[in-house]
């Protein structure tokens, strides 16, 4: 079917709005051009697209972006207590002054722009490669735009087990910032790496993370999309997993006008493990969309998708998850759970959990539920003298915990739990 003119024109507008990067190596230039072509041919996202039916992409594509006043946050920064390599972006631009020195034993780390201007660079095997693979069968136009235009970000190659995680901190200061960041991570065979990300980033943020985990490698990702009421964000995480590798990604999202997190995982080696989880708490004019696509193309791999959303005062939570099991991906274990907890009558939870299975020796299941706080549980707690507010809070935390439990590092998980508890308690006061 022909691509509607509306989509094609939209793509041109998106490409025209961001300057074409210059001074890069010829291989990088051709990757950029191919990405721009992908976007130009398939068009910008519109509401009529199947995977945008629940989220209107208009505010992600409009020019200029809608202004979003930065939120004055008086909390201590997340992951502040952890030993980490802190790299700070302000409105999507890397700030050397606010960051730690860019070096860490066990990894090669370099700003993306440097990597892309080097003629012979390992990034050539990764930059834009996984994003391009992730464009079929479902278009991801915002990620293609990112590959075509983003100049900020880091290229990280992990060889061993670095002593501490890398932490990208995204600060938002300008009410009109329209930022794009593209990070690439290559975890070499047997290496183990943890990436932390937090902060509201920008008025409008388009981020892509490409992760290539080689055989026996492990990648842990904990992300907190900051409390910033008016921000908008679209992110794309693209992962490719080798044999016996592990990929675990957790995202906490609290408020923000619109968040669309896409995660595309592909198993290419046998016996891999991928867990993608998300906990989200939203209130008011808040829309949060998790779109996950896991492709099993290897034997005996395990995938889990665990998404929990607590919504109130008109907030809207969306989950679109898919497990695709290719014909030879026998012994696949695929699991998917998406749950919405609606704290009042104005909120909405919309889910589309899909399975597409072409192999017979598999065990795949999904569950999806939606409803209010269980009155019986509330009654139980209240009969033991817990106030209604506190009881509800406890149940909310318990509800979200299944997703938080996907974080392997207990200290990081506790960090997230403490943060959530504090938010809920503050709201009650």
């Amino acid at each position: 079917m022909a691509v509607p003119a509306l989509k094609l024109d939209g793509a041109q507008t998106l490409l025209a709005a961001a300057p074409e990067p210059s001074g890069e190596a010829s291989w990088a230039r051709s990757v950029r051009q191919a990405a721009a072509r992908r976007l130009a041919e398939r068009g910008a996202p519109v509401r009529r697209d199947e995977y945008w039916r629940y989220t209107d992409p208009q505010s992600l594509t409009c020019q200029p972006p809608v202004a979003a006043a930065p939120f004055e946050n008086d909390e201590a920064p997340l992951f502040g207590g952890a030993d980490r390599l802190k790299l700070v972006f302000v409105d999507g631009v890397f700030s050397r002054e606010l960051s730690d020195p860019v070096e860490l034993e066990g990894i090669e780390i370099q700003p993306l722009s440097e990597a892309l201007s080097t003629d012979i660079h390992w990034a050539r095997e990764l930059f834009g490669v996984l994003e391009a693979r992730g464009q079929t069968p479902v278009d991801r136009p915002m990620a293609a735009l990112n590959t075509a235009r983003a100049t900020e970000g880091f290229a990280i190659r992990v060889h061993g087990r670095p002593g501490k995680p890398v932490n990208f901190v995204y600060l938002h200061e300008d009410a009109l910032s329209d930022a794009m960041v593209h990070n690439i991570v290559r975890v070499e065979a047997g290496a183990d790496f943890t990436l932390l990300e937090n902060g509201p980033a920008a008025a409008r943020f388009n981020k892509v993370l490409e992760v290539d985990v080689a055989d026996d490698g492990a990648f842990h990702h904990v992300r907190a999309q900051g409390r910033d009421h008016e921000r908008r964000a679209v992110t794309g995480t693209f992962a490719r997993l080798g044999a016996r590798s592990t990929f675990k990604s957790f995202t906490l999202t609290v408020n923000g006008r619109l968040t669309r997190n896409e995660c595309v995982v592909e198993f290419t080696g046998d016996d891999g493990i991928a867990h993608v989880a998300g906990a989200c708490v939203g209130e008011g004019d808040f829309r949060h969309d998790d779109t996950v696509f896991v492709t099993h193309d290897a034997v005996n791999c395990e995938s889990r998708q665990v998404f929990k959303k607590v919504l109130r005062s008109g907030a809207m939570g969306i989950f679109q998850g898919k497990i695709l099991v290719k014909p030879d991906a026998q012994k696949t274990d695929g699991y998917q759970i998406s749950q919405g907890l609606l704290l009042d009558d104005d909120s909405q939870f919309l889910a589309k959990p899909e399975l597409e299975i072409y192999a017979d020796d598999v065990a795949c299941s999904h569950g999806s539920t939606c409803g209010a706080v269980d009155e019986t549980l509330l009654f139980y707690l209240r009969s033991r003298g817990v106030s209604r507010g506190e009881a509800e809070e406890l149940l909310v935390l318990a509800f979200l915990d299944e997703a938080i439990a996907e974080i392997e590092d207990p200290a990081l998980a506790d960090d997230i739990r403490a943060r959530l508890a504090a938010w809920l308690a503050r709201r009650r006061r």
């Binding site: 009558d345 909405q348 919309l350 889910a351 598999v362 999806s368 539920t369 409803g371 209010a372």
Partner: protein, 507 residues
Amino acid sequence: MQLHDDTSIREGVDRETVDAVRSVGERYKYGFSTSIDTEYAPQGLNEDIVRLISDKNGEPEWLTEWRLTAYRRWLQMEEPSWAMVHYPEIDFQTQYYYARPKSMTVKPKSLDEVDPELLATYEKLGIPLKEQMILAGVEGAGDTPVEGRKVAVDAVFDSVSVGTTFKAELAKAGVIFCSISEAVREHPELVKKYLGSVVPQSDNFYATLNSAVFSDGSFVYVPPGVRCPMELSTYFRINAENTGQFERTLIIADKGAYVSYLEGCTAPMRDTTQLHAAVVEIVALDDAEVKYSTVQNWYPGDENGKGGIYNFVTKRADCRGDRSKVSWTQVETGSAVTWKYPSCILRGDESQGEFYSIAIANNHQQADTGTKMVHLGRNTRSRIVSKGISAGVAQNTYRGLVSMHPKAKNSRNYTQCDSLLIGDKCGAHTVPYIECRNNSSRVEHEATTSKVDDEQLFYCRQRGMDEEEAVALVVNGFCREVLQALPMEFAMEAQKLVAISLEGSVG
């Protein structure tokens, strides 16, 4: 496949299962064609054809216009491509849109006047068009009178209704059961009021096509407070070549009424594909209940995917009244391509919708089927149980929508969809849409996909069953929940079909 008679003696294996397994060896047995003089409308589709069909049915002007409006709308529509089914492009101009046995040119006054050849066809299908106590769908039941419930049959052959049984007895109870063309003549006020009120003319591509060219189908009206004294059924038969069947069924259960309706369908084996685009509309008013059961056994094409019926059907029920209830039960075993989503609009407070489905796809069959439960009223409830079985190189998709609107307070939905894969060349897919727009409602959805459990197979084989027999038993167990929801007449037939459709899928 040979089975010995002593099979039945084994403990834990019931007679039905043995019979089911026995018929595994049989081919599609409804694949014969009846050679009968048939009168066709000219090939292709244009406004003249629409007018011609309308004229053949002796329709009033408003209905002709209604059809033409649909046709003009259809010209602007695009064939949907979102379903997970692939087939060569359909040339709508090479089809015949109307075929009627010549003997039906003058409508017979009673069943006695119907061409014996036609009656024989139905006899052969196991649907004797005689007013006697019969168990429809059970072979041999016609010969030996069995103590059973009465079933009234409306038999549709290509584009026309051949006859309807038990009309007089139904009329005594106030129930109107006739072909839709007859209803247009006899009860225009009812038809005008309800036709298109559930599935509008321009609902979707195939429904719009149907609105333009629909020929016969059944019409049921059950007056207030009447419990229909017998099961009603329609048996659809496609016979003519290159001819599409476009029947339209309209069922209205007035306040407090109850009706159980059965639908069966078969077609001859042919090398070319044939089109079937039906529309079923159900209206349930206050406290009314409609139970609609289908055993769909259109010719599925041969083992190489040649021929078969393209089954594009729009079925929708409007639970318009408070406390109304509609229950869809379907066993989908036939058709090369199935595109079918029986739905319930739960408009009335405390109304209920149910959907029980077994979809079996073997060889090159493709099925994309499921349901929509749209909760609009308060305290509405819906339940979905879907069992999909894929074998050979078939693709089977469950696609469903559960939508809780903001005003549908305290509503409940429970969905379970399980898929079973037999063999490593087939596919089983699940595409549910779950939309919850208020917090007093609860939506639960679970789905699993697995293959026939090795342990269960081992257990059966250990007890002396061969593999095909064991698979049939496991599959029957897998489907039990849905089979139990079928009226008895159909359950037995369906159970057999489950086994037949899986023929040759093991090993």
